[in-house]
Symmetry: C2
Subunit: 428 residues, 2 copies
């Protein structure tokens, strides 16, 4: 008999079926026992009245893997309106050791560090699994949106000879006797690939040797990177970002609807055009001194609130960040060269995306590096491509875990990461 | 005026349009000059008769980025039957330095090492770009097939505290003062995630410190990993693998049809059921001694030939590899415990995929490690999940670059890798 998932039971009332999964919970009442079996699709209630089956179920601790053959019976009070009656229960492995916290309660009561220490079982809790399903759907929406716009997916090196952004916060390793580094971003490679495909994206791990412990930083995270050529300026990039986020949210709504319901979420709407303010205006709105070189988290929160009340938008672009605060490959605003054609996107008052137009002329790169007192040699392989013709281009990067954390309202990005890596955590 | 791609010109005969791209080639004849512009979609022939425009074009070396405004004119001898006439040509950047090899010739004449040294420009050659488009389409087909079967995409750590498969061939790094390793595979994590989602996949980089230089090994490659629970045995895994490869080939045919045509490929057919032979039978077919513990490359070639002539199949499963040659988590064949429920898939006589059923009972893991004289402690975080209930499961991993190389007939996997990493190569 073919196994079916719990979500298909309601279409099979009266039939004898086989389900399989984990013992989620047992409730041993005086006259009847309930066995709740959890599978990938949800929960199945199994009603046990036979004394021999009851004895068998009593000996199966939570998380034991079992299969159940029984009759699908309508019951308005059971999950999805059906339950299995007259069951035969067979374990598919030895009795499990119960996990160190109850997975059947509505919320995990264990502290986050305990959950992370026991991630393989903590992730089985429906709330933790739901966040990861939302992440998977968001990435699917990211790709679908870009595929439809002729972007090509690329896979680039994660071990590099030169640190990408600066000398700080990189992991060093030995590469067959040569010094090497884990890539902090695919920035250089996605730019180079604009020379090949014009429009590219990559979904992959990036590594930051963050020396401090915060609720929004990980030492490895999943970066959703986009780069496109033949732009007029950063506004073309912002338009693609808007559509990409809209596609991500739409796919979360479509593919992860169960997860969204499990977490009781209201997904944000996406304006046809995301409101945008220049950095100088953002400082004014945030009540910051006009000579501040960057936005502090408190400023971002104020701006998020402003976007919500003024524009009814969960999203806000801040454009024109000062060049002094952006990496050397950033394209300046031709009209105000102290400001950049770079932007951040705030989502509910938190920086979610950084992007902008890049330099595309070889002499501009040489000048930018010289102005920062940086040598050219470490960037030789990267800069060489610009000698051979590169179009005006730009791009952005979305941190997947940060996006999901903000979407589900998680206070700590580790709540939505399967196996986080940070200053203290290298296992499991 | 909105820029259009070269592929859209044939629908716009008579119109004035704007195209943009790279100067692919110039042919300066006595009475007329031809400018060939390359964009993401292909080539556009621009006919130049005006002396001033001709002078401008003469000053634009190959790979200079230009935009051209002109009239779409039918010409049966031009690419796609159309060309641009009466053009205005404007560079979008400084004149390019011509690349060290001609990109406009049908094949790159530079040696592979030279191409790899200059990858950002070599990849612009239509043949090199085509292989990467095929890779992107194959990955899209991989995901689409698995998404349709309720698999969930996961992202797992690439830095781990314990080497996955054995102590050899790992890259070591310093993780905030602790020893750590680059992950050789997501094997343990995908198994753990079977406990959460039952069916998972991951597309991501894996790292092997391969100490020798071969045409089929890279130190970083893209692994397409699958794992699924509630299987009867390895044959359920093989069925999913067959469907996944069929989906990959179908998406290559659909999405990368232009690339397939550029390379003049005939894609392999996929049998409804891939022929399978047991390891002992494979030795006999290959003419190897019956006590050989593994298949040598020459044996694999013989088997590939046999599958083609006997079954008309480019694919062949070899099942039941000896346990002694498989990793400790491999499930034995219950009927013949010296042989495994593990398999390899040969594609045109080359090992492409390794997979099988895994152990799922905690005591079996302890026994397997003890039998190999391996300590339990380094695997504690992994093994713990099996104490808490895991279903019978199995999976497989496809090396993306190796698949594409075999598909396009590349002799060296580096020909189909954008920026390969190996014993000697850490840049660009």
């Amino acid at each position: 008999m073919q196994r079916i998932l719990s979500s298909h039971l309601s279409t099979r009332v009266g039939a004898t079926v086989r389900v399989a999964g984990w013992v989620h919970r047992r409730r041993l009442l005086r006259s009847v026992a309930f066995l709740i079996v959890r599978d990938a699709a949800g929960l199945t209630q199994v009603v046990v009245t036979d004394p021999a089956v009851r004895a068998a179920v009593t000996a199966l601790p939570e998380e034991t893997v079992v299969e159940v053959v029984g009759t699908v019976t309508a019951n308005g009070t059971a999950p999805a309106g059906v339950e299995l009656t007259g069951p035969a229960v067979r374990p598919l492995g030895p009795p499990a050791v119960p996990p160190p916290f109850d997975l059947y309660r509505p919320a995990l009561t264990a502290t986050l560090p305990t959950q992370l220490d026991h991630a393989p079982v903590a992730l089985r809790h429906p709330s933790r699994a739901a966040a990861l399903r939302i992440a998977a759907a968001a990435v699917a929406g990211f790709r679908a949106t870009l595929d439809a716009r002729d972007f090509v997916e690329v896979h680039t090196p994660k071990v590099v000879a030169t640190s990408t952004e600066s000398g700080a916060d990189v992991f060093a390793l030995d590469w067959f006797g040569r010094p090497a580094y884990l890539a902090q971003s695919p920035q250089f490679y996605k730019q180079l690939m604009v020379g090949v495909f014009e429009r590219v994206y990559e979904v992959g791990p990036v590594f930051r040797a963050e020396p401090h412990d915060t609720v929004r930083h990980l030492a490895q995270y999943t970066s959703l990177d986009v780069e496109l050529g033949f732009v007029d300026d950063h506004r073309d990039v912002m338009a693609v970002l808007r559509d990409t986020l809209a596609g991500m949210l739409a796919e979360v709504a479509r593919r992860a609807d169960g997860a969204v319901a499990t977490l009781g979420l209201t997904l944000p709407g996406m304006p046809v055009e995301i409101p945008a303010v220049h950095f100088t205006e953002a400082l004014r709105i945030a009540g910051a001194p006009p000579d501040e070189p960057d936005l502090a988290p408190a400023h971002e929160r104020t701006l998020g609130e402003w976007a919500r009340t003024t524009h009814g938008s969960d999203f806000l672009f801040v454009t024109g960040y000062p060049m002094a605060k952006r990496p050397f490959y950033t394209h300046p605003d031709p009209a105000r060269p102290a400001y950049s054609n770079g932007f951040d996107l705030l989502f509910r008052g938190l920086e979610l995306v950084t992007g902008g137009q890049r330099l595309h002329r070889h002499p501009d790169y040489l000048a930018a590096l010289a102005a920062r007192g940086e040598p050219v040699e470490p960037y030789a392989g990267y800069l060489d491509a610009f000698r051979h013709g590169m179009p005006p281009h730009g791009g952005f990067a979305v941190g997947l875990e940060r996006f999901v954390a903000r979407l589900v309202g998680a206070a700590n990005v580790r709540e939505v990461t399967a196996f986080p890596r940070d200053l203290h955590r290298l296992t499991p």
